[in-house]
Amino acid sequence: MRMRKQILSAILAGVMIASGVLTGCGSAKEDSSKAAVDTEVQQTAETSDIDISKEVELVMYAVGSEPNDFGTMMEEFNKMLKEDLNATLKVKWIGWSDWKNQYPLILSSGENIDIIYTATWLNFYQQAQKGAFLPLEELLPVYAPNSWAQTSEGARYQATVDGHIYCVPTGKSTYSSYGAIVRGDLMEKYNLEEFHDFEGYANYMKTIAENEPGMQPSGQYSAEILFDDVYMMSKGLYCLNGSTGGPYWIDPSQEHPTVFTAAEWDGFPEFLDMMNEWFQEGFWPASALANQDDKMLETGKAASKIHNIDTWATEYTKNPDWDLRYYDLVGNINTLSQVQDAIAIPVTAKNPERALMLLDKWRTEQKYFDLFTYGIPGVHSEILEDGSVKGLNDDLFNLDPCSWGFRTDALLRDNANLPSSYEENMEYIRSHVVENKYRSFFVDTEAVKNEYAAVQNVMSQYYDPLVLGYTDKEAGLEELKAQLSAAGNDKIKEELQKQLDSFIESYGK
């Protein structure tokens, strides 16, 4: 399916480039198909009208780590860029180790930044509200018309804050699927069947606990606990922060959802019963929260892990003979907000127009996307016959170091190193997608930021041990509720409900 699109767009691109016309084919996403904007003639006229006589240097900030051979790729890239747009690009990096401090710092320093990667989890909404980015609704149709056309109504809505569009959301569909990554070889050994629910997962873990001493069935360690999120998602609930780990949930199936925390959910005691039982059966140790070892699955210490499909793909390649399998546990899968990855133009940009033109190229021209994302062909990667890409030297250039903000379903290539069952799992995910309009709702905690900070702290202190069965399920739950209350939980819920209500009214669709 993806292959067909690749070939189609390759042909189209070839034809158009040959005839010197740049048009974007609207990337046909499953959920938000947009009628391909058929304004070729007008667009080409506009883009060729733009004055690029002044040479500029564009500065981009990416989040991640710079591949060792990035510079070599950039040399090639800049040759291309200079020719087409009379510009050169300089990429600077914000590492994972201190992104939380560094990201707002560079935005506040007044340093010239023309393009920057942004995302919901990078606090896009808060920063947009505080004036970090340029409004783009006027600039996009002129300087990045194809990207503008590719962005559906729904995505535009998600990128809107206080009436202005502040980012260009990704063109790649991402899903809220989380599942159990389990050992296929062990499943064969104990004759277990595939599962997509918690009973099946419990069965697997129980088998491991009984028969494989020394192995931890669940692989839970000090990082995020996902059991609760996945469980609640599997019951159809939606976490208002658009991902996991947030305190506030709603039930989208209701006519008019009310905001609640896990502690107040009527299904929570049942969940706690299950978790307590699991703890008693030894699915995770008593000191799991102190264990920082994140390599347990890979080293064989743990028998499973709950995470997303991409983690599964990476883990699979490390131990192919274990036949790691991915079984989605969420069931009611949504497509994530388009602002899961995005590109924004900070207010300090000196050349926003040229930056947007570059963005357009990334989103529509295969050669731009390929070079920047996969490196130099033959050296860093190899494009195979079926259109998929194979990394040749991970040390020099690991694939897709910083293109997340402008990936499109059309231009993105499959990784040839994916496990063979990847496509099968993706099919399962795609066939289980349900619509969820609340993905476009973002939580504005500004008015209750003090209470929200207090609640964060309460959750970290009282919620986590309760979920893992370390504290008594009844007394612990009461304590949690009391603490939440003292932290101002009610005030937050009131505020969020207000925002939710006005969203429901105004969203229309």
Binding site: Q126, K130, S287, L289, N291, K449, Y452, A453, Q461
Partner: protein
């Protein structure tokens, strides 16, 4: 005014000698200090530090809601006080013993060894802590099992961590602090000791009557300097040792870890600055009082 001019003329060289330090402090500490106003502002990226709006004490509210702010403040003070006293006392004792040692190589070796913990980052220590305390195969529980006792889950015993942190803190700083004391002790005139020995004093008396009083100024300075930081917890130490074990927070949370966790998703600059300002003001009040007391008793030992 003429007083100043007179002083300038008299000690012209001294003023010149102190000038570089004054400039560096001015440039790198005092000018950026203006950023403290962010604690009272609603920071906007497009308006910058000075253009953003004033919002009074609003940024401080998160700290005091639900009474946690008070609890972590108390924790911070208690931990710092206890850590300060134990680690300094230990360092003094170790310094005295080492300087009294005669075996030269042994002396050098121990000095170097006790310095090692300073080099180990708390993040790594955090990984080791798990190794020691975990219930399944941790060192502590292995030892207990060896002696036929029941394994303990230290992660369920918040009060025990008071001692854990105290021990780790001393472990980390004993080498570093003792350097100061060793250096001070070696500065003591050897002839004093010789005279005392001739007079028949034994070693304990020598230590009590000569060594300790000679390094009293150093001890006081070290104590004062640490009291001035009493509101600041060593964030990495608490964060890495305690980790994500929520059950321990009531007993081990300090201001820095509390603020870190509260602001983990919002990253609100104003609120972080407010928390720092709160710590600073309290430090200031405490040190002013303590320094004032010391100044009354022995003016030369005071910080200022």
């Amino acid at each position: 005014m003429s007083d100043v001019v007179h002083e300038l003329k008299k000690n012209r060289t001294l003023f010149l000698m102190i000038l570089p330090a004054v400039l560096i402090t001015l440039v790198f500490s005092y000018i950026p200090m203006s950023g403290l106003i962010l604690a009272f502002k609603d920071y906007r990226f497009d308006k910058g530090i000075f253009g953003s709006d004033w919002i009074g004490l609003d940024n401080f509210r998160f700290f005091f809601i639900s009474g946690t702010g008070l609890r972590v403040t108390v924790n911070t003070v208690v931990y710092n006080l206890v850590n300060l006293i134990t680690s300094q006392a230990l360092s003094v004792v170790v310094a005295i013993i080492i300087t009294e040692m005669n075996a030269k190589y042994f002396k050098k070796l121990t000095q170097s060894l006790i310095f090692l913990p300073y080099f180990i980052s708390w993040i790594i220590v955090g990984a080791f802590v798990y190794n020691i305390f975990n219930v399944e195969y941790g060192t502590l529980n292995s030892v207990l099992r060896f002696f036929g006792k029941e394994p303990v889950n230290l992660y369920q015993m918040p009060k025990a961590w008071f001692f854990v942190i105290m021990i780790f803190n001393s472990w980390k700083w004993v080498g570093y602090n003792s350097v100061v004391y060793i250096s001070a002790i070696t500065g003591v005139d050897a002839s004093c000791y010789e005279a005392a020995e001739i007079d028949g004093a034994n070693i304990w008396q020598r230590i009590y009557y000569i060594t300790l009083p000679s390094i009293r100024p150093t001890i006081v300075i070290m104590l004062l300097l640490n009291v001035g930081r009493i509101m600041r917890g060593d964030f990495q130490m608490f964060y890495q040792i305690v980790g994500n074990n929520g059950q321990l927070y009531n007993a081990t949370d300090v201001i820095d870890t509390f603020v870190f966790r509260s602001l983990t998703t919002s990253g609100d600059i104003g609120m972080t600055t407010a928390a720092t300002l709160y710590q600073s003001v309290l430090c200031f009040i405490i040190i002013t009082v303590v320094n004032g007391i010391v100044k009354r008793i022995e003016p030369d030992y005071a910080l200022y």
